[in-house]
Chain length 200, copies 2
């Protein structure tokens, strides 16, 4: 037995709500899922409807999780389109910009949760996400150029009640637990099914 082993346990900091994160409830939720892992199975959905040209609109409302069907507070709607320079009507961000938005919101939510769990109050989190794409791929003008982004860069500015090292560690922990970072960097299998109902 060593001195370390007999030393009194480090006092456990009681979690408190911080910068909009209900830390006690968040930690209790994670503990509850640990006891009942089937609660962690989620299915998220977007329902999309073509409008005209390259413009379409999605609705994100129902999803499955925590053991049953859930609904957002309201049906969130969002548009997607190609910009004028690519012959679209520019009725919304491009599909590839939505990917960048997904990544930014995922990493930022994680940063806020992780900081709160560590008792660190944040005052500002801003980021710019930029992706490089060579349209020779999607235009079918080159078989050597991929269709999607070749690289994505995320630049964070984070301010809070902690050292620069602690703030950086929060961002890196968010990256390590980010769903969208994993999706984008590691890929996901996608199955596509087509129905072509007869026209009346």
């Amino acid at each position: 037995m060593t001195a370390t082993m007999t030393a009194p346990a480090k006092a456990k900091r009681a979690p408190v709500p911080l910068h909009g994160v209900d830390t006690p409830t968040l930690l209790a939720t994670i503990n509850a899922v640990g006891d009942q892992p089937e609660l962690a199975n989620f299915k998220f959905r977007a329902k999309n409807r073509w409008v005209s040209g390259t413009h379409s609109q999605s609705t994100m409302y129902g999803f499955y999780g925590a053991g049953g069907e859930q609904e957002h507070v309201l049906p969130f709607k969002a548009d997607g389109d190609h910009p004028n320079v690519l012959c679209g009507a520019d009725a919304g961000p491009t599909p590839v910009e939505w990917v960048l938005h997904a990544l930014a919101t995922c990493l930022t939510a994680g940063i806020a949760n992780i900081a709160a769990a560590r008792g660190i109050r944040l005052s500002r989190v801003e980021s710019t996400v930029e992706g490089d794409i060579d349209l020779l791929g999607i235009f079918g003008l080159s078989d050597e150029v991929r269709n999607g982004y070749q690289a994505i860069r995320v630049s964070f500015e984070v301010e809070g009640d902690a050292s620069p090292e602690q703030l950086e560690q929060i961002v890196m922990q968010s990256r390590a637990r980010s769903a969208v970072f994993d999706i984008i960097t590691n890929g996901v299998p996608v199955a596509i099914d087509v129905k072509t109902p007869a026209i009346a």
Copy 2:
């Protein structure tokens, strides 16, 4: 020399605008890029600002492409948040739902462009995109569960002035040239940089 070689060339159908796609301009744009491939280098961006808790908001406005800086018709704004059941304020779709929206809008825009280029008029395109995710990953409760989606399914319903086979082929060609399908299925390297400005 064979009969086939001396047969008259198949009459080339002149492209016409269809269902909101300015097909002549689209094809002319692709030809122009073929002559000047540097026009195909694009950089898309999302600028994100943390609001509170897991809620953040992105602005998608400026991007680089076609040889210079471009702007959307207006600064598009979009929120992201975690739902109540995951201790968020549900101020917007979840980051992982935004990924599904990106995929739906990309495939749908491609379907409309490709159908127009083939002279096929579409009357309806709807899709549901669903992704399976096990939150044991992002909660840090299992090292064997990935953080992101395990699988994504896209179900299209497509109606238009063509045979079921032709309509299916349009969807499959859109998949073959979709930027977001490529990003999600094949992955993209993501670099993250953190600045921690001193607090005044």
